[in-house]
Symmetry: D2
Subunit: 344 residues, 4 copies
């Protein structure tokens, strides 16, 4: 049974494993104050093109999101997210548990634009309602779409004009930045947003997300918040070593490129087999619409999520590729898909 | 510069590293639903001698404590801890951040006994005060002392009579259970307390704590709380693989035994050199009282914490040994201590 | 300038004022443990027809809602509310500030039915999402609609089958129960729901809401939560005296009947004048759709809220009547409306 | 049975009652935006001698404290209080429920001085501990002592040097400012502290506390916090009318003077009867040490709290006088005390 369920089914890239092995018996300072972490941070700052950002390493994404939002907002302030937003749907109320409402905006493609946000600002008029203060977006979004540079610029401008903090959840940021349709770089994020994180867990690390705080006013005492939320890893070097390896050359992007290439191959072949997709997704998640009977047969050999029912006989499924997905597995899947299609 | 600062300065035991390498490219389910985690849990249940406990793996100790206390208590209920308790002093208000007061009880040796707790119960008489509902202890305590089986039995009885949840922070539980003065086993904990955790981070794992919930009434929906607190690791197998390796034979205890043996050696030799200790500590932390001038010289070669000033010329320092501490390093330290003592 | 903005523009009914004056210099116990509060609670229990419910008096509605929800739910549990629900829109994130998500269900008439709730239950499938645990409704709803006995019975049955707590915000409960379309009594609420509150602030009291907890499992330690949320009034008798006066005979319902009668008069006359309404509202709020030019003229003489724009030239306004609204003021308003209509 | 249990046993001063009656049927804006509240605020600003402070009216003290602390502090920041502090002992963890630790400082007379606070600052050294950010004091303290102007000046200077917010709980502020030993005025508070509240509930109002925010940086969006905590009273004028009456002349202080005079009479006569006091208390609470047998007899006629056991045969009791305490009741108490003393 091969899995296209997600991009964290395997361990880590062999270079990361090697780096962990080589440093294993060294003694280092705890809590991210080790030399590996410091070096990794320096390398990422160079990539971002700003030496003045603050970078903190976390173990996971929900942890990063709840620490960031709780640290950045005052109690009466709320975050705005697309209705598909991870913090709205898949984090068990982690943000609300820190005291903050998340305002849901219904959109079709997972992306927030100024015209989607404006009505929410207008509707929150006085102290009987929460005060919208942060715009939370994911790139790529939870349904695989990505922001263009122009879209992010417009959003950034809108947020600055309206004193809104713009925060980007980059759980799969590598896949977005390496998409064929992408026209942005890390350095653009560094200029346009207040904070974002560079996801490692879903791009070949054992675990780890690198939070980048660009806005000076949000930096103060941030490590207190990390510790308070239980997110300060004792052997912080584990994160440092991994991000150092990912960013000492292009490994981070190479891994994302493999995931995207495999997703593109899936899209091409599934299209060739005559199927359509639920949504346009230029990153490492694809959402083909398949007959339920075909899905049933595929499930005997492959593991993946059924995303949603489309009509009486068809459903969209989610196939996720990763840094570790091999072309032979994709081709095998396609072969099965064709075989079951013929036999239907 | 050799470090006696803590027991998480190195990476992990080579067997754990090997297990990670061997399983690296396997695909597994996420979020702790993989086979490694299930096997590790089975092995720990056997050690505890109860198949009916629930076991959940966490990345770190503060994370475990805040998830547990937040899940177990209603909003008006409070935890009771010794004044040295980790949740009171060193977790940046993590427990209060989930809404709960921690009641501090002043004790001398880090340990709570029924007679220490009773006055706090008596002082909380009505709805104008929080309701004490949990007793939080650490074994070993933050200053290295350990509970005897009889002490834990008395505490357990008292808690049950007073409807208090008894929770044991076992960040260094291996060291306690392998202490020469210990007369308890994991199975005793399983019988006497409502929940406890088996610390991995400070006993040779890369990271990881295994929470054991013994009391049925505290088990429901616990995974929701783990997720909400950002503590559900995507590649949960990383924790499972480590605890599987630690408990497939006696590795967990062997590692603790090394830490204790090295601490005992330190105590023996420091005593022989004519120094006294701040507190009786039969586990892997020792607190010798040394002349400030000697401390200054030692600091040029070794890294460790100065615990507290004892008088005008002397301070207690904290030396921590670990699974990775080598006898030659301890002997080297002693040699230096003696050399600097002679030259003082 | 006469106000139809809300039902808390005046002080209190003269009988309540008289009761306050007469008892003013008596000494009583604080925090609701006085004899007036005890008597008021007894009278309300009789009306509800259950001596086994617990009743607690609060100062205001948001305070009641946040204390109730925070006390009843565990951290990972969420409340479900109609998209117009007061806790969703007009309480500044008070519920989220206690750590709980409120799930919004889009409905047209302000009312929740089992078929509205079922999809939300189905969508929350595992520990990556909050667990829906409470259904919050208002009767009347925020847009003036009321629940029939049959509707509440169906909802009650559904909640019990799905282990959901059913809680009714009764800020304007008097108006609902005295509506011409109502077929329920207080005793029906006592049988069908887990908790509800009888609103005083919006029905002639200076302030005050009486929370009724019907479900035994939700009663324990409730006063701790009241105190913790800053809701335990020192001179609790102020609430007791008022509810005693409201329930020693039919005063509570008489006051609501006046509000409803005045609303009915408004509806009748506005209909006669040729205007329609945004929504069917058989309680003390009416939502006529009027030309914007007419609204502008009315605003010179009357204060009320513009509810929403309906088309280019017309808007719905909200007119609220109360225990204190006089027929002459309603007639005066109608006269003006007709006058401005003629002159338009 | 006459009560010396507290200073909120009776209703309100007749002038306040009269003002409520006279305004009863007027229509006013809700939520404190009425003219009475505005006038009351203007009068208080004049007394404080600063037109630039912000004043908000609350219903009760715990509500005020939790709203203030939650609004002023970031999640990792803590308040420092004397071990007797109301927020530490008698508010059911209300502050912790908003996420903040309260650091307890052991003092003997209920007062905090710079030398008491300094060690707490020194002990909180890094991000593993909360960050002390507010100093919470009460004047008078919970055991009746009061701050001199010089003491408050030293504290203010210390707080400003250490970037600590100085907040004064003034539940019984009238009694402090009217004490024979007092050398401060409202205007001194306005200059020396960041925020304080002028207590009404314990000084003759039905309910009500006037929060004064002096520090500009703490003012923004404060009404959002009031609403979120359920503390924005719908008929806000009830608070405005009362504070208007209290401050339109010297009524607020006259009421406090009566409470103090009655307390002084108690102290004088109890001293004359040969008894001592637990603590020096120049405000409206006195703590005489009486034989347990005498206490028992007094309890048959009077209601009051037994504060603490002093030795095997004696206890300290707390007697509280108020704006409503009559000389004849005090003299009656003294008579009984003497009678029972003779007969002992």
């Amino acid at each position: 049974m091969y899995s296209f369920k997600n991009d964290y089914s395997e361990g880590t890239h062999e270079r990361i494993l090697k780096a962990l092995i080589e440093s294993n018996l060294e003694q280092t300072e705890g809590y991210g104050e080790d030399v590996y972490t410091q070096k990794a941070i320096e390398l990422m700052k160079e990539r971002i093109g700003r030496s003045d950002v603050d970078i903190h390493l976390f173990v996971g994404g929900t942890q990063t999101n709840l620490t960031v939002i709780s640290a950045f907002l005052r109690p009466h302030e709320a975050a705005i997210a697309a209705n598909t937003g991870h913090i709205l749907v898949h984090e068990t109320g982690a943000i609300e548990a820190t005291g903050h409402k998340v305002i849901s905006i219904k959109v079709n493609d997972g992306k927030l634009r100024p015209e989607d946000i404006k009505p929410a600002l207008d509707a929150h008029t006085d102290e009987h309602m929460v005060k919208p203060k942060m715009v939370y977006i994911s790139n790529p979004t939870e349904i695989g779409s990505i922001y263009s540079k122009n879209e992010l610029e417009l959003l950034s401008k809108f947020c600055r004009e309206n004193k809104l903090i713009l925060y980007v959840d980059g759980a799969r940021l590598g896949s977005a930045l390496c998409s064929e349709e992408n026209d942005m770089e890390l350095s653009d994020l560094g200029k346009l947003v207040d904070a974002f994180y560079i996801g490692g867990t879903k791009n070949g690390a054992l675990m780890g997300e690198a939070l980048v705080i660009c806005n000076d006013s949000l930096k103060e005492d941030f490590r207190f918040h990390i510790k308070q939320k239980g997110a300060l890893l004792a052997k912080g070097r584990l994160l440092g070593i991994q991000f150092l390896e990912l960013f000492k050359d292009d490994l981070y992007f190479d891994l994302a490129r493999n995931a995207n290439a495999m997703a593109n191959l899936l899209k091409k072949e599934i299209t060739a087999a005559g199927y359509k997709f639920l949504t346009h997704s230029p990153s490492n998640q694809v959402f083909p619409i398949l007959p339920d009977k075909l899905i049933e047969k595929l499930q005997a050999e492959y593991s993946f999520y059924i995303w949603e029912k489309v009509d009486e006989y068809n459903s969209a499924v989610r196939l996720v590729t990763s840094w570790a997905t091999k072309e032979e597995e994709v081709l095998g899947f396609i072969e099965n898909l064709k075989k079951f299609t013929v036999n239907k």
